[in-house]
């Protein structure tokens, strides 16, 4: 390795360590109760969201390879990645609030939908899952897009007579390195989400919401304690994922 590259690596790592670990330690105090519950909840919702993002991500990557209108349609999956998460949160909230807006006499179905949204989606577990899945989609999409660029697996399996859900499942299993990468990175993306959750589904309390609330309610010290706990968990998870992927 070139000595200049070594210097750059050392400088970058030292700066990050200083800013994200060493200097904040000055403020550290025990995090408020509920840290591990929120982390476990976030991990579980993140896993579900990552799993849900795989099939649409792969299908969109296949559509992108087809070109034309399909490619344009597929690129809509990048929207959550290129607009601020708070915008995504606002737009989701606006969409799911529509039934309430039009709930008037004579359109009882919309009133039923409005109460369903209030009871089961906004600031509810299903809302957390929807928010995390929306944010995980661009990750799965981009990883499968890269995989299909390198390997024409779809063309091969289609020529063997496979189509529909069977084709998608076969591709998910055949492109297993990409599938595992998409799953892990979509999970990491879901785990770190704040903006959408803050606006659309701040309850149940996920890790990012928990840290934000800890900072607002208890100040910097407990928020730093919680953040460093998340850093340790995230670094350990990333290290294990990398080991697993390269084995």
């Amino acid at each position: 390795m070139d000595s200049f590259a070594k210097t750059v690596v050392v400088a970058t790592v030292a700066t990050l360590f200083l800013l994200l670990v060493f200097l904040p330690l000055v403020h550290i105090s025990p995090p408020p109760p509920g840290l591990f519950e929120s982390m476990a909840l976030t991990a579980a919702f993140g896993l579900a969201a990552a799993a849900l993002s795989l099939v649409p991500g792969l299908a969109a990557a296949m559509a992108l390879r087809r070109g034309g209108v399909w490619a344009v349609l597929a690129q809509v999956l990048y929207v959550p990645a290129v607009v601020p998460p708070t915008s995504v949160g606002v737009l989701l909230l606006a969409s799911f609030s529509l039934p309430r807006l039009f709930c008037t006499e004579g359109v009882e179905a919309l009133c039923g939908a409005a109460s369903f949204v209030n009871e089961y989606i906004i600031n509810r577990p299903l809302g957390v899952l929807i928010a995390m899945t929306v944010m995980a989609l661009p990750v799965a999409f981009s990883i499968f897009d890269g995989a299909l660029r390198e390997e024409r697996a779809e063309v091969f399996f289609r020529s063997l007579g496979l189509s529909g859900p069977r084709l998608l499942l076969t591709l998910l299993l055949s492109l297993r390195t990409a599938t595992v990468s998409a799953f892990i990175f979509a999970w990491i993306r879901s785990f770190s989400e704040l903006g959408v959750l803050l606006i659309f589904a701040s309850y149940p309390v996920t890790a990012s919401i928990y840290i934000y609330q800890a900072w607002l309610t208890y100040g910097v010290g407990p928020a730093v304690g919680a953040s460093l706990a998340v850093v340790v968990l995230a670094v350990a998870a990333a290290y294990l994922a990398r080991r697993w992927l390269s084995s």
């Binding site: 390198e150 390997e151 024409r152 697996a153 063309v155 091969f156 399996f157 289609r158 020529s159 063997l160 007579g161 496979l162 189509s163 084709l167 499942l169 076969t170 591709l171 998910l172 299993l173 055949s174 492109l175 297993r176």
Partner: protein
């Protein structure tokens, strides 16, 4: 006629493919430089890209059918990983095509019986043979092969091509390598600028003589 292509036109960006007529009844190799349109030709025949003209497979007009209904098994240059354990994959595919009884025989014929229990750790050459076995089990009308040996070393290349020759089935075989074309094919077509310029066949002695000269370059490795 296994595969008949007439007045085929397809576009990929600014590149245009135009093939007036191409017949495949045995192993037909298509050679040509990078960008001459070899892969576009296979994609158009397989139905992967939009094309105009007529593609007839085993007497059936398949021009308007999607790739999965054309019965044209398309083997790629980068072999695809089997989605499951090799045997499970082959059996699942055979079940769809009603060829379950042929799995053992195909594995035997391609020399991949020891690989049946494997899922990962297959070499590129082994994967390509598994891909070929999968394709065989679908009972295709014709094979389309896009530089199927381009990622294989010379010995694996020879082994794969020996299998292709022994299949006794119609194959449209794209390669950059004229010596490989001479070794594997009965008919060689030259492509340039999106057109099939000329097809030559039936002169096996001449072709093999040229091949033996090329092979002698590699003999120290054997």
């Amino acid at each position: 006629m296994a595969l008949l292509v007439e007045n085929l036109t397809a576009r990929r960006g600014v590149f245009t493919l135009r093939v007036e007529r191409l017949e495949v009844n045995s192993v037909v190799a298509v050679v040509g430089r990078n960008g001459s349109g070899k892969t576009t030709l296979l994609d158009a025949i397989a139905g992967v890209i939009k094309a105009e003209g007529r593609v007839e497979a085993c007497g059936r007009d398949v021009s308007r059918l999607p790739p999965e209904r054309r019965r044209l098994a398309y083997v790629q240059s980068v072999p695809v990983d089997p989605p499951t354990r090799v045997e499970k994959f082959l059996r699942a595919l055979a079940k769809i095509h009603g060829t379950e009884a042929e799995v053992e025989a195909v594995a035997e014929r391609l020399g991949i019986k020891p690989l049946l229990t494997r899922r990962t750790g297959l070499s590129t050459g082994q994967k390509q043979l598994v891909n070929l076995a999968a394709a065989l089990l679908t009972r295709p009308c014709t094979f389309l092969m896009d530089e199927p040996t381009s990622h294989l070393d010379w010995l694996n290349k020879k082994a794969f091509n020996d299998v292709v020759k022994a299949l006794g089935m119609p194959v449209l075989y794209v390669t950059h390598d004229p010596f490989e074309a001479m070794y594997v094919a009965d008919v060689i077509c030259v492509m340039e600028g999106g057109r099939v310029l000329r097809c030559v066949g039936g002169q096996r002695e001449e072709l093999e003589q040229v091949y033996r000269v090329a092979e002698s370059f590699w003999s120290p490795l054997r």
